[in-house]
């Protein structure tokens, strides 16, 4: 149990998707104009990550990994399908995103229309595929750990986007040099936030 909490906290703060790996930057920069829409997108990302990482974990360990097909027949012990992982992971993600889209459209049409194009774009949000690929690379021991990692990464992404949206709402009233307005200053703020987040790096969990 302690282990799970560790993975969860670690993936929120130390291995934060945005500040440590720059994953999911595109939607992060484009949707973070107001706190309200970014909260919605953040929750959608937590949801999608929380489901796709464990599903991809199962697929990875029971279908793709070398020797993963042994449960079918011992003959498959040296079959290695991991080169297919990109395509399979992306297919899982695309179908999960479709599901989330339908749920949001049903329960919150306002959120649906304000997210606009960025909802289907979660499918190509690198944070999601990145989550699955990191899961594959780090070899978690069981599905609970993979779920903790997925949820933690989602929460980390959520915190980051809500944080930057709040700052951007305030900075609109400040006197930023013209060429830096909008995108430029957002990049620099993100960089500074990233440096702040690096303070967590020394923590051993």
């Amino acid at each position: 149990m302690e282990n799970l909490v560790n993975i969860f906290v670690k993936s929120i703060f130390i291995d934060n998707m945005i500040f440590a790996y720059f994953l999911g930057m595109c939607s992060y920069l484009a949707v973070s104009k107001t706190v309200k829409t970014s909260t919605g997108l953040g929750i959608a990302v937590i949801f999608v990550l929380g489901f796709t990482v464990p599903i991809d974990y199962l697929i990875q360990n029971y279908l793709l990994k070398e020797g993963a097909l042994v449960w079918l027949s011992p003959k498959f012990a040296d079959v290695d399908l991991s080169f297919l992982s990109f395509i399979i992971f992306i297919a899982v993600i695309a179908s999960m995103v479709q599901l989330v889209e339908m749920i949001i459209e049903k329960f919150s049409p306002t959120l649906y229309s304000s997210l606009g194009i960025f909802l289907p774009l979660i499918a190509v949000n690198c944070a999601i595929l990145g989550g699955s690929l990191f899961m594959q690379e780090r070899d978690y021991n069981n599905i609970a750990e993979a779920t903790a990692f997925g949820l933690g990464s989602g929460v980390g992404w959520f915190l980051a986007i809500v944080g930057i949206a709040a700052i951007r709402e305030k900075i609109r009233y400040s006197n930023v040099p013209d060429p830096l307005k909008g995108l430029g200053i957002t990049f620099i703020i993100t960089g500074l936030m990233g440096i702040a987040f690096m303070g967590f790096m020394g923590i051993k969990l």
């Binding site: 080169f83 990109f86 995108l183 990049f187």
Partner: protein
């Protein structure tokens, strides 16, 4: 049918190639493809390989999608696009693993992440789906080059200031270190990539006033 007589490098086509280098640069103006751009720019070499991989994936998948544009039903187009991109990326990934194993290790998951690089999806959606193969090819090349240029500029500064080398060769002479010069360790850390891009945007927009945003 006047279009078919259009020369291969007419001014319109040439514009497709050059515009993304500055006025509609995918990174600094369209905000596409930031994700993978920043993590691989600590050293020049991986950044260069990454830029090349993106050029290949993007040009080929733009052409393929443009050829398929009349046969793919709009409802399933995203899945078709992802499959085309993913298969190209698998090819590139296997190629890197076979011939450039060290660099492929350094790039780790980021080669796979070319699939979700929004620049590719974005251009497929915005351009290849409604244009002929040749302009689509040029558009792919142009955008990937615009992406690559930023990647290489960022990597150049980060490697120069962060480790005092360019392409792995020491360029800051030993004597300077004896006078107390230190490599700026901060440049190697990920957040500095963002700040460097921020600075690039600043310079670019200061030169090119029409890109300035209202707030």
């Amino acid at each position: 049918m006047s279009e078919e007589k259009e020369p291969l490098f007419s001014s319109k086509n040439l514009k497709l190639l050059t515009e993304p280098l500055n006025d509609s640069n995918p990174i600094t103006v369209q905000v596409l493809g930031i994700c993978s751009a920043l993590a691989v720019t600590v050293k020049l070499k991986p950044a260069f390989v990454m830029a090349l991989s993106v050029v290949v994936v993007m040009a080929v998948s733009n052409v393929v999608i443009s050829l398929l544009r009349k046969t793919v039903p709009p409802r399933i187009r995203i899945i078709v696009q992802l499959v085309v991109i993913a298969s190209m990326v698998i090819l590139v990934d296997q190629f890197l693993k076979a011939f450039l194993f060290d660099i492929s290790k350094q790039l780790s998951v980021f080669v796979g992440l070319i699939i979700t690089n929004c620049i590719i999806m974005g251009r497929l959606e915005a351009f290849a789906l409604s244009n002929k193969p040749w302009p689509a090819f040029l558009d792919g090349l142009g955008n990937a080059a615009g992406y690559g240029v930023i990647l290489i500029i960022v990597a150049f500064f980060r490697e120069l200031l962060g480790s005092g080398t360019i392409w792995g060769f020491q360029v800051i002479p030993e004597g300077v270190y004896n006078f107390g010069y230190e490599n700026n360790g901060l440049m190697i850390l990920p957040p500095m990539a963002l700040i460097v891009v921020g600075a690039i945007i600043w310079v670019q927009r200061a030169k090119n006033k029409k890109l300035i945003e209202s707030n």
